[in-house]
Symmetry: C2
Subunit: 369 residues, 2 copies
């Protein structure tokens, strides 16, 4: 194999496939990336068995062929080369020479025989989203997956497609995050659970541009994301997702309308008094049209009043401040509505058309606190 | 005590004294900072027994007094307050209230009785430098102190004043860094060893402005740095520093003049092939007016030629690439001169007027490599 690429193009491609290289694996071949040069294209491939990525790199193919190279070493070398043409040449023993200007590296590669290439996926009826929308919806929900591998389903997100609506749901037993997206076209009904970890990696590769599209294809076992010159394949999580609709009551006894940024800043300040070993809740005390946040820990106490518009009953309720913060941080609205029922029932942060719903369970508090 | 300060002024002061707060100490009082409000000034103080810092904060004193507060908690609270006036009030039990807009924190403080306040230092005959010069000279030398506490003297830097010249020296057994600074005035001869760790902290506080001055006062046990509204006191290291002048030969057999940035980039690339467990030297092969850098490790090999101007004999010599890089990174010249004697003798990177000298010991290499 002998190819020639611009350093920046090559580095860009390497950075994309690196997302599918495991830091450490019992199968050394997985720590490699494949360079595959055919008559037409130069392709980089990596696969950690959960997530597989292929991306095309512009360049000149002087001789077709392929080689597997340790991804970490190869990427570090490319990163440090001067901004110029890079020549990669492999001999019959997979000894690989990387030359750029006067710098000449030799590293040993290996054949890609044992490498788990990506399976062929039939590409029809794609679900189409903009890169921006997909990247955003991942950011706005992925924080509330569970990282406890013993409950596999909670480590993924439900992508539920019905007519022209996509609903993305994540939950971890303490809270549920839901985002709804209207799509241009109608699609057949479909429900898949995508691993949160792979969604995180995909969102890092997405450019986030409004004008670039992502085609998503589904099979029984996989979802395939196709955008720019890149293909990302992820395994799906098998099993049935939780039925959450029965938890989404619209009833409420108290509705608080509040400036989002003010509330977020206040909870961030209050969180300073929390230490790992002393997980105290933050208390929302709503009475006489007054909204007061309070916290009391071994380090000290804090309270702060915030202006609100109140509808309904007074209430005192406690929350894990992190859960409130996680939700507030991904809401872009200037004001948010918080719906409460009683001190033992979940609160809902949602907007009018329910394009987002964040459900958070309260923490038991001593009401006299 | 009751004081009122702008949040930004207070935060600035807190960030300065934080440099003298130990992360963890067996004496809890050292993890505190002192707020001391007299009729005239508000002063923040911290001291880890090696390094002590006092700094003044602008503000209004409503009631004089002082309090010791956990520095980490206090700094985190101040950092998160809105940009507005902060009121700090302490009662007779040292319960401290911090109020800013509608946010109200209460944390418990303690009396400063046990706190090791900074000793009084007689301030006469200061050595005067610009903040820029002091900050630069620390950066340009402090990397080659030793972090091995068993040889205390190597963990410090020699500040040697003679007439109107300051010489700063650090060494770690493998290399020596020397910077010379011409000063405006003449001073009496003096040699002190300042702990490298405290120099690092001081350099973080220095603004680095050319127009602001630092007054440095010395006693037998301490050096005191006075600048802006801040006083930094550091203990000196006792003992006699190494006699290095006999090691600074001006003889050479080979002189290489080379583009600094090119050499640095090349060594950085070569370093990619080095792993913790496999510390191979970088080899400089100078022959027939050709300068070639080579490295050969378990990961692979690399070589690169760089244009030079050569004076003298051919030579093959090996170095720890990190030591070359450390020196090159703090030299601002476009080209550097490297002086070599033989493969077992140190190399010198120095400029014409010897305002900098970096001596680096070579590594034994198999010349047939």
């Amino acid at each position: 194999m002998k190819i020639q690429c611009q350093k920046s193009d090559l580095l860009n491609g390497v950075n994309i496939v690196l997302k599918a290289v495991p830091v450490k694996s019992t199968m050394p071949i997985l720590e490699c990336l494949i360079i595959e040069a055919t008559e037409q294209t130069i392709k980089l491939i990596a696969n950690d068995m959960e997530l597989g990525i292929e991306t095309l790199v512009k360049g000149t193919i002087h001789e077709t062929g392929s080689v597997a190279l340790n991804a970490k070493i190869f990427s570090e070398i490319i990163r440090r080369l001067p901004e110029n043409d890079v020549y990669i040449t492999t001999d019959h023993n997979y000894m690989t020479e990387i030359v750029c200007e006067k710098a000449k590296f030799s590293i040993s590669g290996r054949s890609g025989e044992e490498f788990p290439y990506l399976p062929n996926i039939e590409k029809d009826n794609p679900v189409v989203l903009s890169q921006f929308t997909l990247k955003e919806v991942i950011r706005q929900t992925v924080f509330s997956i569970s990282d406890n591998e013993s409950n596999k389903i909670m480590t993924g997100e439900l992508f539920e497609i019905k007519n022209n609506e996509l609903r993305v749901i994540s939950l971890d037993g303490h809270r549920i995050s839901i985002r709804k997206i209207l799509m241009k076209d109608s699609y057949e009904d479909r429900k898949v659970i995508i691993p949160g970890k792979t969604l995180n990696e995909i969102s890092k590769i997405l450019s986030g541009e409004v004008s670039s599209l992502v085609n998503i294809f589904f099979t029984d076992k996989h979802a395939l994301f196709e955008f720019d010159d890149t293909v990302v394949l992820t395994r799906l999580i098998e099993g049935e997702y939780y039925r959450i609709d029965q938890m989404l009551s619209s009833d409420y006894e108290t509705k608080v309308t509040i400036n989002k940024k003010e509330l977020q800043n206040c909870i961030e300040r209050a969180s300073l008094l929390i230490r790992e070993t002393d997980k105290k809740p933050i208390i929302l005390d709503i009475s006489n049209n007054n909204f007061e946040l309070k916290i009391n820990t071994a380090i000290g106490s804090m309270n702060e009043e915030i202006d609100i518009t109140l509808e309904g009953k007074d209430i005192i309720i406690g929350f894990n401040p992190k859960f409130l913060l996680d939700a507030l941080r991904v809401i872009d609205d200037e004001t948010v509505d918080i719906y409460l029922i009683n001190a033992k029932a979940p609160c809902f942060i949602r907007n009018q058309d329910q394009s987002y719903i964040y459900l958070i369970l309260p923490v038991n508090i001593n009401v006299t606190a």
